[in-house]
Amino acid sequence: MSAASGRRAGRIMRRVLFYFGLILILGVFVFPFFWMALNSFKTHDQITEYPPVFFFAPTLENVRNVFAQGQFVRYTWNSVVVSFGAVGLGMLLGLPAAYAIARYRQRGFAFGILVCRMIPGIAFLVPWFIVFRFLGLLDSYFGLIVAHLVITVPLITWIMIGFFEEVPIELEEAARIDGCSRAGVFLRIALPLVRPGLVSAGILALIFAWNSFLFPLILAGVETKTLPVLVYSFMTFDFLDLGGIYAASTLITLPVVVMVLAVQRHFIRGLTIGGVKG
């Protein structure tokens, strides 16, 4: 074998190894989702069977059960109301604040938002639970939305700071010279330019609000329970409806996965802008 083809063989070998490794790694990250979806179509017996069953006749029983007895549609609506409400309100609070931090260097305020991100959820829950109970806000949409602002506002603000910093200052100065007010500059120049950022921040905030479990666990009741709490409640005290758990888990993960896939570039941009900009 000549030296050149030896080198080429080495290169091909390396490429094969690379793709093999890649598939292995991707497989590891994807497998639990695959397993979750697969088990949704098994009967209870098949799920608890050992060795685990990979080939079987699928059934829609679990999915039917989830819809039949779980009030699934009602709780989906709750999740929608709370997440979208928290993101919408979060945008109103976070966008101007992010702009102010980006343009006017409000470092102290930025630190306040950061502290907000640091505090564990449980720290809010003890006082919130007591105060909400006193104000009659337990098991209310308003209470839950306000609670979830603690998730959405820091996230939106943090991400949007990065995007606002990218808006060229010359454009804003030009507008000011043309007689535009500062508010106008924000609304008519800066905001439209950061539209991709809005999608990023919005999607991220939506997903994390949607996935939230601890807050609705304590603050929501029969009326306003959200999907993650519903899924958890399938793990009832005694009879373990494994089929129901898997089906419900798949159903609740599906919208999130679809959302992410639809706007993945924005999702990634939102995730990375905090890290890259620092």
């Binding site: 793990m235 009832t236 005694d238 373990l240």
Partner: protein, 268 residues
């Protein structure tokens, strides 16, 4: 699935039977709750069967008395040697699932599960299981009583509606419906009901009736801070399941128990 063995009539016979029937990984001899928050409930049977109790009459912990140590030794031995590998994490759901699949030879748990075990739609052992009295120990027979109660809060603005609901829920018709679904109800007449007697698996009716008449609420520590004390004892049992020294664990638990009691019980 008893392979010619008679139902155990003492705790020793229970252990012997478990040893005979234990053939992992397809069948485990004896399964019971081992999770921290759940274990004390099941373990309490051993505690009282050995003559122990949660506390002395003047409110001091008694779980680390010799009876408590013996009870823990027996319980842990059973679960470690003849139980399923997930014992330390087992709550009611896990234990139930194992029995329903036919992977547990014996189980000591709630009477209300009988209906589930006999439901062919969800149980692989429907029609193939039987029940007997919870085996007595050296100190004799003890049976546990656990009841769900209904209460109306003085702060409620729907007290009348709540009262009407309570009346409805405890009425004979509603209780009978639940009783026939194997959620035992407190009305004596129901326990003599012909239809219910016909439904019950062999031995189950006799055992359940005998137990309920002699049962006392021994499953939980008789204190205000019962959940916290249960967890404290549960930690000890769970650590013992992991192999730690039983005496040390129970002594530590008794110490924590004292601290909780002092903090939460009203002064006598």
């Amino acid at each position: 699935m008893l392979r010619g063995l008679a139902p155990p009539r003492t705790l020793e016979e229970l252990e012997a039977a478990a040893r005979r029937l234990h053939s992992p990984p397809s069948v485990f001899g004896f399964v019971s709750r081992g999770r921290r928050t759940q274990a004390p409930y099941s373990w309490s049977h051993w505690l009282f069967a050995n003559g122990g109790s949660w506390a002395t009459p003047d409110g001091k912990p008694a779980i680390n008395a010799p009876a408590g140590i013996a009870a823990t030794e027996q319980y842990v031995r059973l679960l470690r040697n003849y139980g399923d590998p997930g014992a330390a994490d087992a709550g009611p759901a896990e234990v139930q699932t194992l029995f329903l699949q036919g992977r547990a030879a014996m189980i000591l748990d709630a009477v209300s599960w009988a209906g589930l075990f006999s439901d062919p739609a969800r149980s692989r052992v429907a029609g193939r299981w039987a029940a007997t009295l919870a085996p007595p120990g050296p100190a004799g027979a003890t049976y546990e009583l656990w009841a769900w109660s209904l209460a109306i809060s003085p702060f409620s603005d729907k007290q009348r509606a709540a009262w009407l609901f309570v009346q409805w829920a405890t009425s004979k018709e509603i209780q009978r419906t639940l009783h026939l679904r194997s959620f035992p109800m407190p009305r004596t007449s129901l326990w003599n009901d012909a239809e219910w007697k016909a439904m019950a698996e062999p031995g189950f009716y006799a055992a359940a009736l005998a137990q309920v008449q002699a049962a006392r609420p021994i499953g939980h520590p008789p204190f205000i801070a019962s959940p916290e004390i249960t967890d404290v004892v549960g930690i000890a049992i769970n650590n013992a399941l992991s192999g730690r020294n039983i005496r040390t664990e129970l002594d530590a638990a008794a110490g924590r128990m004292t601290e909780v009691i002092e903090r939460t019980e009203p002064r006598r």
